[in-house]
Symmetry: C2
Subunit: 212 residues, 2 copies
């Protein structure tokens, strides 16, 4: 069976991208291939990671377009040119327009650094998520991989993993632990589950078929 073609959309350092690359190289991802990495900035270190592994890269700088729609028209053409089956948002700091969401319905996934529905939605990104968790005083947080729909962080949940909050945690130490113990495990796993056709979506409910 041919591999599913995966686009990873990034804005920054690309640590989540690196974990997907690693999983593709060591065989944890075997049903998908990284077809293209799309960055919002030509300075994103994620692009270096992609190039180092021979993965095609594209840059879509918002400043070069008049509107979000024009900007995402370019994104759509890149996804179509590359015959993309799965779009992975891996620290992508632009909002995806409804047109893209509609075109790639149930084929765009995102990783969010909390146990959704806690600490998610508009304004909750990056360190802010962990600041909110610490400010609330939770003892358990985690990460979520979910389908992307028109509601920020509102799509169906695919995978979640809990992570302990420790005394003395700062937003930075908590962010790092959530990455190490949850995001970096969940995202490659979700990519392989999707590409191997083991994810079934029924309304908001994701069923995962276990490997035989």
């Amino acid at each position: 069976m041919s591999k599913k073609r995966v686009a990873v959309l990034v804005s920054g350092g690309g640590t989540n991208l690196q974990k997907i690359i690693d999983a593709a190289e060591d065989g944890r991802i075997k049903s998908g291939e990284l077809a293209v990495v799309v960055s919002t900035s030509k300075k994103a270190f994620a692009l270096e990671r992609a190039k180092k592994h021979g993965i095609k890269t594209e840059v879509i700088a918002r400043s070069e377009y008049k509107t979000d729609e024009e900007c995402d028209a370019r994104l759509i053409s890149i996804l179509e040119e590359n015959k993309i089956n799965l779009v992975v948002l891996a620290g992508y700091l632009r909002i995806i327009t409804p047109k893209v969401i509609k075109l790639y319905e149930n084929r765009i996934i995102n990783v969010h650094p909390s146990l959704i529905p806690s600490f998610c939605g508009d304004g909750f990104y990056g360190l802010r998520v962990h600041e909110a968790a610490l400010s609330y005083g939770v003892k358990v947080t985690g990460a979520t991989v979910h389908f992307v729909n028109e509601v920020t962080d509102g799509g169906a949940v695919i995978l979640q993993k809990a992570v302990e909050v420790k005394e003395g945690d700062t937003p930075e130490t908590l962010q790092r632990r959530v990455m190490e113990e949850a995001e970096w495990l969940l995202l490659p796993r979700a990519v392989e589950l999707f590409c191997s056709g083991r994810i079934t979506l029924d309304g908001r409910h994701v069923t995962i078929r276990q490997e035989e």
Copy 2:
């Protein structure tokens, strides 16, 4: 050092009460003693559990009082008569009035069957919590022990534990798993932590001093 005196407030079967009794008998709770069990109904099976272990019981039926305040005046007199240091809500289906909350500030704890702030607040109790979690489609839920303040499920978090949602779960199977894997462990532990003076509260932040 004398043991702290604990009141457990119940409305139903009293499974959480039973776990506190068990922990007191097997030594996991050694800094507190069960001074009184207060039930909203004389029919609550929790009362049988208390009596079997020689624990004093009281019933406060709302129907015998004109107002919530009169009803809670009786509660206050029971707590005072019994020199209570810690009030544990263990499936207590009445709202505690602000007067009681004020009098016993930072001395009332509750167990809630989700990872607060998910699936909590007004209307989220009992099976409804698990129905909401399944309806949302989360893959991880859990339980929380927290201080009780004037906001429903809004007080500072003391302990949390994650529990996996499994495919095919019904609200009933999920409720049972959350009890077994989280509530029944967290509540006795929180009682002992409180009674041994190892919980420090700073704003919304609970710090737990580990045992030497």
